[in-house]
Chain length 519, copies 2
């Protein structure tokens, strides 16, 4: 087996997130190295070009005839000046105005990290997965379900850094509710810079917070204000208040972020049957109207500012009103969302979701159905990639690990199939011949080390071995893995001057009282 | 809500498998009505036309240069007469001979059931899901894992009949090992006819068994020998003995089945790294060579006999040799298998698999990855659709129910998205307006009953309700469902004369000693 080293270097596979062996002294968690994923197949289309146009035109009709409420007077003034009809808070858009404004949105751009190796390409065929974001609760199988807190927040950041398949922070992986709301963004974003070197998100909760977020992103990268304006280094989710409302904190977020050329992701949360019509097509019309209005506003603030089309259409259980995720309706909405975003040549954001209460079969099948939809549908920026449980109410440590395995599998699925003459293996088949086996074939020995995906969680032992091991379920393996990952976690290197400047900024802003909490 | 009845009749959704209310007195299991699934989107292609040709040509090279062992002299004689080169058991095929023979295989045909409503279209855009087949063990969460037995066998048949999403019996859902091997096929196939009215499978384990199977299929349908020859009413799996061997019982199966115009599904079981090269492409070359040889032989036996291209390429864990299923490699092999089958214009068989030891998250994600591959890859006849666990060593009652939910979701995903003007919902959006909600909208009231897929297993209750219910996991819900399904099961009607003839045939064959057990 002299070829092992050569093969390993040809296609490196299993490596730990931390240093060799890891601080835990055990073998590192078997994970794939960091890599950029590209979709090599055409995205799936489940509505025809004509049907897509009918959704598009219905959305424009909504915006021109019904309109959308913009609660910030400054935004309304800008829109009025640009040609929109303003009546109280209601803003109506001529279809041509929407089409003209959104035309300047870039189809692709780079989302910069403080470590350039973690820069993410956004748009086109690129796909990148982020952490879960914003659950008010966290859980693990030992400690159970609890209110989100600072320690769990920091631990999720460490996992985000440790796992190579995580490209960015989608937001706070869990809300650190024990940190006062006035300074929470300062503490949380400082940790995002120090505990990870991946690109991150700041919440649009008023002018002060988003300005602080932009400044922390700039300091973290150690760059000038000018360079920051050239290189988008922060993103923010702009959730419309569905149906048809953009509220003041969100509009201020767009004003601050787009004017600085930072990334805005406009995401309506259009649950069919609740905040949107009871049909998937109707919910998509509403999603599209709201997304287009928000995107148009970003381009009014700054032509060419990076913006992402966010799709988050699912359905509710009509018996209980409970939101459902990872359903067939969710898959369809995701795929049509991608069709719409590509129609506008704007990167597409979607999510890895589930409604399950625990890390059971339901959590897994709802997540893989979500991944199916978003992978085939051409998602670019995938929020809630790892850790989302209970419809987003809980960030789960075990689900985080399980999702990393799922994301890695999706990534492996996206790799091209090798069809070289050696891969076709006719000579290996000749060597073995009828009735033989390939375990000892030269072809096998030359390739076996890295031939197949090695999962993080899956247990492939036979029944006897599995019984002897105590009948572990997937969540138990995941439980052991996140603990090892935390033990093996290594804080990424940072320029001491950057760290000092960051700490000084955070302490100064804290001493000033942080941000108002009456937003 | 006066529209409810109208809407329900417009698009009937939830109904029980048995009579209204069910024998259990509870509400029937919420399941979708019987329906024929069609794939409306183009199948996915992950290798180019050129790469596909390179796999095709490599397979032909394997068949011409290396050849394949046919252990039955009669088969070799036929092949020699048709132009193949025979050397001992080894048969080598000129590429042109293979191409010419497979050209007569039909691209689509009907698989007839004794109840014509359960006839299955095989090929083209049609997709039909069968039960799990052939595990030597069964399990449920109460009784645990046990050797396959007659009672479990019958119970699985009842579930196959009860669940509308199950189109056919893939084989024995579990091996009834407590029935003597000489008469097992007689008892098992009699039950297949009496306990279900769906089309079924007989094993190719020697001439006598497969002849008995054909006769039982004929009697069950109450038709003449001539009509049976016009209407394929039974299928058999022909597993090659990979690598590159077709053994005597399987060849006898082809001789009996193809000569009677019954359905043969040629399925190599090509585990990359074990019975096939360690590369997915190499395993596909071997799969394709073996499948082509078997398919060619069916057409030599009878030009135009219905035949299915079976793909069952997965990989092994190279550390342990354990077979892996539902992996990224499995997905790719499934999709390329579909590309190959379509190249030959032959229906494609694939499977819903997993390697998990229990009905946990792993079982679910491996299954949904399988379903993803086979749905996007254009599978037509889906074996092991419901109940497969532990790499096929176990038929699980809970997994059966879980899989029915997954199959239904795949079926829902395949339904076209309604984009009528009413579905686009602009008037509903106008009615509700910014800041409102859609729960009480006219559009919602008119559609809510059947707006969304209602799952069998998924638990969408909020955390408080879920905790109060005792924190049930998905398998616990599935456990309750299969018990209710068995309680509510209704034996399908049958013509008494048919039943009498069937019983007489089975008893006569049993009194003759059944079939030899030294095959």
């Amino acid at each position: 087996m002299t070829n092992t080293d050569v093969e390993t270097s040809r296609r490196p596979r299993r490596e730990g997130g931390g240093r060799r062996g890891g601080a835990s002294g055990r073998n590192p968690v078997p994970q794939l190295p960091r890599r950029k994923l590209k979709r090599l197949f055409p995205p799936m289309q489940i509505v025809s070009a004509d049907e897509l146009e009918s959704i598009h035109h219905a959305s424009l009709k909504v915006l021109s005839e019904i309109g959308m409420d913009f609660t910030l007077p400054e935004a309304r003034d800008m829109l009025k000046k640009a040609g929109a009809t303003v009546d109280g808070e209601r803003v109506r858009f001529d279809p041509a105005m929407i089409e003209e404004l959104i035309a300047s949105a870039p189809s692709e751009f780079t989302f910069h990290a403080r470590n350039p190796e973690n820069d993410q390409q956004i748009g086109g065929d690129a796909i990148t997965f982020g952490t879960v974001a914003s659950p008010p609760n966290s859980s693990d199988m030992d400690g159970g379900r609890r209110t989100g807190n600072y320690q769990d927040y920091r631990n999720f950041l460490k996992l985000a850094q440790y796992f190579n398949c995580i490209g960015f922070l989608s937001g706070y992986p869990v809300e650190p509710i024990d940190v006062h709301a006035s300074i929470r963004h300062l503490e949380a974003l400082r940790d995002a810079v120090l505990l990870t070197d991946k690109p991150f998100h700041a919440y649009s909760l008023g002018t002060e917070r988003i300005r602080d977020g932009i400044e922390i992103a700039r300091i973290g990268r150690g760059i000038s204000h000018e360079q920051l304006e050239r290189e988008p280094s922060l993103f923010t989710i702009i959730n419309t208040n569905s149906p048809l409302k953009l509220d003041t904190p969100m509009l201020r977020g767009i004003l601050e972020m787009s004017s600085r050329n930072q990334i805005v992701c406009v995401t309506p949360f259009t649950l069919a049957g609740a905040m949107a019509p009871v049909t998937v097509a109707g919910a998509l019309v509403e999603q599209n109207a709201e997304a287009l209005a928000g995107i148009a506003f970003t381009q009014l603030v700054r032509k060419g500012a990076p913006v992402i089309y966010g799709g988050f259409t699912s359905n509710v259980d009509m018996k209980s009103g409970a939101p459902a995720f990872g359903t067939p309706e969710y898959m369809k909405a995701t795929i049509v969302g991608g069709q719409l975003a590509r129609r506008y040549k704007i990167p597409f954001r979607t999510s890895n979701t589930c409604a399950a209460n625990t890390v059971d079969a339901q959590a897994a099948y709802e997540s893989v159905f979500s991944l199916w939809g978003l992978t085939m549908g051409g998602g670019n920026l995938i929020m809630h990639g790892a850790g989302w449980l209970e419809g987003g109410l809980v960030a789960s440590f075990e689900k985080f690990v399980l999702d990393c395995d799922l994301i890695q599998m999706v990534g492996e699925f996206m790799q091209p199939l090798e069809t070289t003459e050696d891969a076709l293996g006719v000579e290996a088949i000749r060597e073995v011949g009828p009735g033989g086996h390939f375990f000892g074939a030269q072809h096998t020995l030359a390739r076996y080390t890295n031939a197949f995906y090695a999962p993080i969680v899956s247990d492939w032992r036979n029944n006897q071995q599995w019984l002897a091991a105590g009948k572990p379920e997937a969540w138990q393996k995941a439980n052991a893995v996140w603990k090892q990952a935390l033990a093996d976690y290594q804080e990424p290197a940072i320029d001491p001057a950057v760290k000092e400047e960051l700490n000084a900024f955070v302490e100064k802003r804290k001493s000033e009282g942080g941000a108002p909490t009456d937003f």
